[in-house]
């Protein structure tokens, strides 16, 4: 009797559809909760591929209509930089250093706010770029 009632209650297309939706939502939120520390890691290199230390990397938050300044970070001797606690899903990154100019702005889009990002392709200064000097 109970088995039959449970079968009727849960084995219909309404229950299955919304059940699947709930499972997907729960799964997605679990993934988000493990990956939303807002950490962005990357590297800055010169045109010849050598790491650039002491460069300033600017994070710009792209909102729907405007782009606003988020935060800045400095690269270490290995050219690595880290942003923590960013709270955006659409950003631009640009590096600058006296004497080397600026790298092109690179756009990054994420699936949720504060998504951790490990940037594989380094920000690269173009050869003979003297902008910003």
């Amino acid at each position: 009797m109970l088995h039959s009632a449970l079968y009727t209650l849960f084995c219909n297309r309404f229950a299955i559809t919304f059940g699947v939706f709930l499972i997907i939502t729960a799964g997605w939120n679990t993934i988000v909760s493990f990956n939303d520390d807002g950490i962005i890691k990357g590297r800055v290199v010169a045109a010849d591929g050598k790491p650039v230390g002491g460069a300033t990397v600017t994070l710009l938050n792209k909102e729907l209509l405007v782009t606003v300044l988020g935060s800045r970070a400095m690269t270490n001797e290995q050219g690595q930089f880290t942003f923590t606690h960013h709270n955006s899903h659409h950003i631009w990154l640009q590096a600058a250093k006296d004497g080397m100019g600026e790298t092109p702005r690179v756009e990054f889009r994420m699936y949720f706010k504060g998504q951790n990002l490990n940037i594989e392709t380094p920000l690269s200064f173009a050869e003979n770029d003297t902008k910003g000097q």
């Binding site: 297309r13 309404f14 559809t17 909102e63 729907l64 209509l65 899903h89 659409h90 889009r109 994420m110 699936y111 949720f112 706010k113």
Partner: protein
């Protein structure tokens, strides 16, 4: 010969379906690519599709808040519609003095444009203290004449002897409606649910008039606000349109069979 004609019919129907679905496809494609609607020559297949416009739309407005408001209002409308319309439909299957006048009155009310009733409805809602509330948003849609007649047609198909025997057993009228008539009218209920949900989900003018608080806005109002900010044909706008469309589409597809049955129940009966 017959097989040949069947193929031709299916081909024609499939082509018609495809033509009808083209605008939806274009909406979906634009939401995934963000390309300009008026670009020429138009690309049939999406070029480099991604879901980031959905992410933009999700974070640009308080989507969950608007969704919750829409769901709450729709739930109130659906429950109220089933209760009130079933009661009214049941009454109209009974014989009483002035029944024809009541039916005529209801039918004539259907001819009054909705916009003409907005001011009195607003004043009434204000007197009830329901402005800027979920209940106030649901109020004008809590009973609809079309659905009353749908229940009437469905209840008329139930054998009269069933009601008589219930009365002999001492079952009160309200229990006859909710424990005998409604379980036998599942397709009418499904049609009512789908129609009430669609009307409430798409309701724009009434919430626009009675709402003051941004947090109370529903999805159609959110869409209008979003449109006023994103005037160009951006992918985020179309992604938002798809997000607003999906719940209604899911409800319709789930209740499709009952919806069609409900619309045709009583079609050949008085």
């Amino acid at each position: 010969m017959r097989r040949h004609s069947l193929w031709a019919t299916h081909l024609l129907l499939s082509t018609t379906c495809l033509v009808m679905l083209v605008p939806f496809y274009w909406l979906l494609k634009t939401s995934l690519t963000g390309e300009n609607l008026f670009s020429y020559p138009p690309a049939l297949l999406p070029d480099n599709p991604h879901i980031f416009y959905y992410v933009d739309a999700w974070y640009s407005i308080p989507f969950v808040r608007y969704l919750l408001n829409s769901v709450v209002v729709s739930a109130i409308v659906i429950v109220a519609n089933i209760i009130f319309n079933a009661m009214a439909g049941y009454a109209l299957t009974m014989d009483f003095k002035g029944k024809r006048v009541v039916i005529l009155l209801l039918l004539s009310c259907m001819m009054v444009p909705y916009q003409a009733t907005v001011v009195p409805a607003y004043l009434l809602t204000k007197e009830l203290g329901l402005l800027n509330s979920h209940l106030g948003m649901a109020l004008p849609l809590m009973s609809t004449i079309v659905c009353i007649f749908m229940f009437k047609a469905s209840f008329a198909a139930v054998p009269r002897s069933l009601i008589d025997s219930a009365r002999i057993d001492g079952v009160p009228e309200w229990q006859i409606i909710f424990r005998i008539m409604l379980p036998l009218s599942q397709s009418a209920i499904a049609t009512n649910v789908v129609l009430a949900f669609t009307w409430s989900w798409n309701s724009f003018l009434w919430p626009l008039i009675i709402l003051r608080d941004d947090n109370m806005q529903t999805l159609p109002l959110g869409l209008a606000n979003f449109l006023s900010v994103v005037e160009d044909t951006s992918g985020a706008l179309y992604a938002f349109c798809i997000m607003v469309l999906i719940p209604g589409l899911v409800i319709f597809l789930l209740a499709q069979k009952q919806f069609i049955q409900g619309l045709t129940t009583g079609a050949t009966k008085g």
